[in-house]
Symmetry: D2
Subunit: 343 residues, 4 copies
């Protein structure tokens, strides 16, 4: 069997996770990696068997050998690389979000569609063992029609202020995963968003123009109602739970823990904290999303999370932003329409 | 020790729960019970040692022997009886809500205040072992400053349509307990409410002018944000959970179950459903609230849940109603002010 | 409905628990209580509505009004009172164990049988919500044929040395409840016992001729195998768990906790300790066992736990004692036979 | 950094697990694999980058390039290969048990000792996240002195009768892992064993001369008492739990599950079964044990589980066998002594 030849663009945190996982797949050959700091990752990449390391991503796109590219560079470069990659006939795996501008995102998706290549967006949580099971249980009808979707999503600690300033804000950077999760587990589209947010963790985040705490109400097109609560700081670790309540029951998940040990002493009952952050908690989901992408190339299948999924989550994020600013519920349609008008 | 002499007004479901619990307290003598269907409860009350049964509650209020009255009659009679009881110098335990009209409630509270009698409102959930522990943990500072308060409150099955029609609606009838819980566990006052509600359980409830599903966002005066989700029908039983997330940690509770047995078979892992409804789930809390009330009479202490607590919960309920109608966040102040203006 | 008239003999810890519970039952009249320190309990009993308090239990037995007696005096008086009570035609509720001598126990049971009165032994744990559910699940066949029965039974703290000296030893005093539980949940009789015991908690217990830690292997007549582990000191509280493993699955129980609150902090996950000791853990089971006994009198039913159940548990306790002494598995038959030979 | 060159002898189930894991380690080069059915694994091994595949394990041992060998062939070949490998100066990772004969085991260990090579035995469960945490908690003194060690170890389904016939029996084949676990978590040596066993799962297992259910009591040299319960068939999946109870508390573990989803319906509370068997449950532990072995070669450290650990577990297994046959507690010393006498 010939191996799928992959080029990875951007070898920061996410790029390296994907490289590690791809290198362990016997069906894949990670042929080349590009990074603007190519020198700094050369040894690391060589040890993993990557044969070509470059500072110029276009070398990867021009390489006729390459079947698929992984776009893990900074967000402001995504749409450009998507367009170039698609036009060169490469299948594309792109980290979220596509961009910080809806029109830009739509244009890139158009190019992908016209080129007929496969594109998967990095909503890795869909491949998480817990949330996948929730989705299955909902789809099997075990809890009937969904009425209330609850998502808890709290990071253990805020990122650096430098990162926050270029992140696009809590909704586009962090809650976007939860917007996708809401669509994924409910199997419905979001129609309206209402946000109540605040700066409760660190005033500096507020000064940087962002919030660190949010409670988001979603209305789905089937009448179901969703709730997301976000915080940039849960001192006990990454808090990632989902609950779907329906006409025939309720499905919930708990956090993942490093072990099941519990110790009971004169002081009470004790256990270890949940897994620390996304690297630990979603470790397997990163493996699974990459497997799914490679699998959809090998067997010519539709990607499990495609461009439209990326776009919808971005639309919700922009509606959330507007709701926060204007202290009122905002319809997704309003965002889509407004952008169209602006065009 | 002389026993506290109690008269119970209204021997419906709640009245009978209180009578059963009062009869088991060695410090209390349930001297008399009034009910408009006095004949129907005569035998039942006699068996419990109640010496006087009447159809006219005023006989109880006029009885100089009676130290305290329990008002368990229908809501539309509460404020009248409160006022008469207070003026007669009786201590008062009153079921929630005080009334369906804020001005009426305020007038009754004024009479109580002027009479200088003790009044406790039937927010029994404050005496629940789980929620009391949450409150303690928050107050001990174990989770730091509260940021997010989450309350799940779902009934196992909707009441009869007849009941729904006179209930005052989901907010005043059902969510009012959760509004009180939000104030209780957070230790803060609610400033603003936003509601997203729907009729997802039974169209007949919608036709009766009520909703059966609600997601409520609360904003507290210390910046914390609250979420309540309500449903009139959780087929697996009464779902009553609280979570408070703060700067130093998070405290959560689970439902109560009839036993801890879990059985593992080739089909999976199984357990019994949570306790069915409030009679089962809050059994002990009804005992505890009555003990607390009797205790505050004997030792001349401030009631644990007083008239102001009842009033605040009603204010939030009215704000919620308005938010639902007008699809916008509504400030509590607005309700308080509007009523004042109306005056 | 005429009330069952009850006399309670012995108003120590257990006697007072029964009196409290009986006084709260509308079907029962606790007419008289006897205790060798009658003076000390007079006020307490009066407050509970007991009309006659005496130092002489025979006054209760002679009283033709009394329907049933509760024997809660010290173990060495049980068989004598059983015999006298039965001959006087009283129904009997007796605390465990019947005696410290198998022949004495058997003679008392004979008298009861000839008198045709009802007798229930105080194995309250059969009425515990968790263990009752285990028994039900086993009997419903949900786990198939039982193969392994595991019982964890650890006290929070050892009793006083004075008590230990007259207790009859760990097997007769403490493990006897577990022997009954093994029979109850398995629905089988024990054939053989092997014990490994030690003094790991307090050397003074060893000096008093007892052990404080034991691991007991039971063989049932259907081939199933049982394990009991006992300790006189679990610093985290009363540890009472049962597990039955069978051909089609396994049923387990957990301890009971004062609440379901769990708090997560930077230090880990925390919860409160299990309920402290039998008064807290088995509170409801004491109510239920008394209800069951009263119910079997009113409706002329067979007691749920009868004299034979008491006897079998004692036989296992004696076999356990012998196994410890002789470091070998001992058959129950051997104990029964040996006693018969001795006769 | 030069890679450690490894040869794997035997590419059955365990051999292939180790090959997969070794191939994913950047520090290791799996140079050669031997298997008596070399032809059947050729393609599989090539795909994983193994350069040399042979039917003759001696080719691996003779290869001066090879640093370490993994012995995963059938048990009856272990000691011969250990001896040859050690004499050739190879570090050795050997699956358990070393042999079916204590003297043979001891002779092999002597060769290893004289050769001064490192040897690790395949007690992978020591590297399990749950049990490692138990051990740590015990060693940190969090539960004080261990008093009772409880190990539940049940397979989801019996192996084939063909396998059972050559397995050496339940103690040497299955319980040997639990004997090692008992030593590992307690930090103490076992002095005496008592076994109660039976054929409750499948009579054919009895006809093959083995048992399928066992309850094993262990006595440790520090006075602690251990309990192991084994079954060849737990229809709900692999049941692997450990509990250590001590003077200051208790530490327990639960099984691992494929996800944390729990669904609540009108029928009760449901969850998925535990992970099916050792391949799923101990997946990570196989990675970790191999990492530890490679690490001890690279950094010249003592193996975490050495030859003496393998020998001790075998001694306990033989004592267990004798206890079952003779229905009495058997001291480990007796086995060691008897074998010495036999010599």
């Amino acid at each position: 069997m010939p191996r799928i030849k992959v080029g990875v663009i951007g070898a920061g945190k996410m790029g390296r996770i994907h490289i590690e996982n791809l290198c362990r797949m016997f069906e894949v050959d990670v042929k080349s990696v590009s990074d603007i700091y190519a020198d700094q990752i050369k040894d690391w990449a060589r040890d993993r068997g990557v044969s070509y390391i470059t500072a110029d991503y276009r070398e990867i796109i021009k390489d006729p050998d390459i079947d698929a590219i992984f776009i893990c560079s900074s967000t402001n470069t995504h749409t450009q690389i998507i367009a170039e990659g698609a036009q060169a006939g490469k299948h594309i795996f792109c980290e979220k979000p596509f961009s910080f501008d809806l029109e830009e995102t739509k244009r890139a998706l158009n190019v992908v569609e016209q080129a007929g290549v496969k594109m998967q967006v990095g909503f890795n949580r869909r491949f998480d063992h817990n949330f996948k099971r929730v989705r299955d249980i909902v789809q099997e009808g075990k809890i009937g029609d969904p009425h209330i979707i609850k998502i808890t999503s709290r990071d253990p600690a805020p990122p650096s202020l430098d990162y926050i300033k270029v992140s696009g804000g809590l909704f586009v950077d962090m809650a976007i995963h939860d917007f996708d999760m809401a669509r994924y587990v409910s199997g419905s589209e979001v129609e309206e968003v209402f946000v109540k947010g605040g700066v409760l963790v660190d005033p500096a985040i507020g000064e940087a123009g962002d919030i660190d705490t949010a409670v988001i109400t979603l209305t789905f097109n089937n009448g179901a109602i969703g709730i997301i609560d976000n915080s940039r700081q849960a001192v006990y670790g990454y808090d990632q739970r989902v609950e779907v309540f329906g006409s025939k029951g309720c499905v919930t998940t708990n956090n993942d823990y490093p072990n099941t040990a519990q110790w009971w002493t004169a002081d009470g009952v004790h256990g270890d904290k949940p897994l620390y952050f996304f690297l630990e908690r979603y470790k397997e989901s990163y493996v699974e999303e990459v497997k799914a992408f490679i699998d959809c190339i090998i067997h010519d299948k539709k990607p499990a999370v495609d461009g439209q999924d990326g776009l919808q989550a971005e639309l919700i994020a922009y509606a959330a932003k507007k709701s926060l600013l204007e202290s009122r519920p905002v319809k997704i349609e309003e965002i889509a329409h407004e952008k169209a008008v602006k065009q």
